[in-house]
């Protein structure tokens, strides 16, 4: 290969080199992440003996996200009620408002918006916490004392996220349906009986509710793991932690939306 230091070929080889480095770094990162994920899963057996570690973290990622999830769910339900009524009334089928609100919440909006909020509320704090632990060399100190940080720090947080996320999504969906009811029935005046019976006629326990639940579990794994990985691999500087926190939000939002498309295509296609 000709690697003469002429300015033009330098530019091209530099660009090529940058591209190669970029790709190599990303694939390496993916490999590291997959390896860490399986290591964490393999080392979480000890949590059965100490479930307190997980429940402490559920308080941290679950309970503290409760208020934002409930309030957002209520308002999303309100808006769905208003907008749905506006569209449905053009076709004279405003009785189907309950069905519209319930289907859109159970199938899509419940899991997806909860996961996005969860990434912003719980994911960032996980990344910052782990990143600061790393910057303060607490993780290294643990290793020095023969305490495995994956086992003691990462695994409980991952499981707490996996448990808390479906619960939050379920609460979001339920509160959203109630919000749609509040706007649809007392405020606008859709018939209450038609609202509920159309909903119950159209929403299937397995096709809609169970699939939405599976979605929320998958999102819980993705968001929590991305947050933990970014924290664990962050540069141990204040700057590095702030960059990792930003990456957590960006990457987990993208991952949630992409996974949502894949899961929807798989579940609801037939």
């Amino acid at each position: 290969m000709n690697l003469e230091p002429s300015s033009k070929s330098n530019l091209i080889t530099n660009a090529l080199g940058d591209l190669g480095f970029f790709i190599r770094r990303n694939i390496t990162g993916l490999g590291y992440a997959a390896r860490m994920f399986f290591l964490v899963l393999m080392r979480s057996g000890g949590l059965l003996k100490r479930p307190r570690l997980v429940s402490d973290q559920i308080l941290f990622v679950g309970n503290y996200s409760f208020v934002i999830i409930t309030v957002s769910g209520l308002f999303v339900g309100f808006v769905l009620g208003l907008q749905g009524y506006y569209t449905l009334t053009r076709y004279g089928s405003e009785q189907a408002l309950g069905l519209l609100v319930a289907l859109s919440l159970t199938r899509e909006l419940g899991p997806v918006i909860t996961a996005l909020l969860f990434a912003g509320r719980a994911g960032t704090s996980l990344t910052a916490e782990i990143g600061l632990m790393k910057a303060g060399e607490q993780l290294s100190a643990m290793e020095m004392m023969a305490v495995d940080p994956l086992r003691r720090v990462i695994a409980p947080r991952l499981w707490a996220g996996i448990i808390a996320m479906p619960i939050l999504a379920t609460i979001f969906t339920a509160v959203g349906v109630l919000g749609g009811y509040l706007v649809g029935v007392p405020l606008i005046g859709v018939d209450s009986g038609a609202f509920w019976s159309q909903m119950q006629g159209g929403v299937d326990l397995f096709d809609d509710i169970a699939n939405g639940f599976i979605k929320s579990i998958v999102f819980g794994v993705a968001v929590t793991f991305i947050a933990l990985y970014q924290g664990y691999e962050s540069k141990p500087t204040p700057e590095g932690v702030s960059q990792a926190t930003t990456r957590t939000v960006v990457l987990s939002s993208l991952a949630v939306l992409a996974l949502d498309f894949l899961l929807t295509a798989m579940m609801f296609s037939n």
């Binding site: 409760f66 619960i167 969906t173 339920a174 299937d204 509710i209």
Partner: protein, 164 residues
């Protein structure tokens, strides 16, 4: 925060989650319609099932007595074989007839069972022989147009197949 306080808060959180799930299953979903009563299977052949789907209700006199288990295409008779599960509590005579009906103008399609007069009852794996296919709107319209055309043809008295 003390350990016991953490436990109480986490327990409360999980309880609220379960209540929300219960609300979704019972009030939003059709959990109340899922019945675990013993059933028996009956099949019927239709020339055209229209938009009938698995898990659609089987009704008699408007009351749900069962659900459609599966729909298959039979390539020897070129008909659709619809298998339905009916609750054991409801027995139907052997010569009952099955129709594919639509709830409302554009609603979902379901199977309506009409009891016959036979003394023997349908057994598990039995077949309903008298069936009526779904009404296809296009066929209905073309039939109507042909009739109309035939009528105008007769009124004029000159041609039988007048197309005006």
């Amino acid at each position: 925060m003390k350990k016991s306080a953490i436990d109480i808060w986490v327990g409360l959180f999980v309880t609220i989650g379960m209540l929300a799930m219960l609300f979704l299953a019972l009030k939003v979903g059709n959990m109340s319609a899922v019945s675990f009563a013993p059933t028996y299977t009956v099949s019927a052949r239709f020339d055209n099932i229209g938009g009938l789907k698995p898990r659609a209700p089987v009704k008699s006199a408007g009351v749900v007595v069962g659900r459609i288990a599966s729909i298959q295409f039979d390539d020897t008779t070129y008909q659709a074989t619809v298998t339905m599960t009916i609750e054991k509590a409801y027995q139907f005579p052997k010569d009952s007839s099955a129709k594919i009906l639509t709830s409302g103008l554009l609603g979902e399609q379901y199977i309506g069972l009409e009891a016959g007069g036979d003394e023997q009852m349908l057994a598990d794996g039995g077949k309903i022989t008298q069936t009526q296919s779904a009404i296809v709107l296009e066929n209905l319209i073309s039939q109507f147009l042909y009739n109309k055309a035939a009528d105008t043809g007769q009124d004029k008295g000159d041609t039988k197949s007048g197309t005006k």
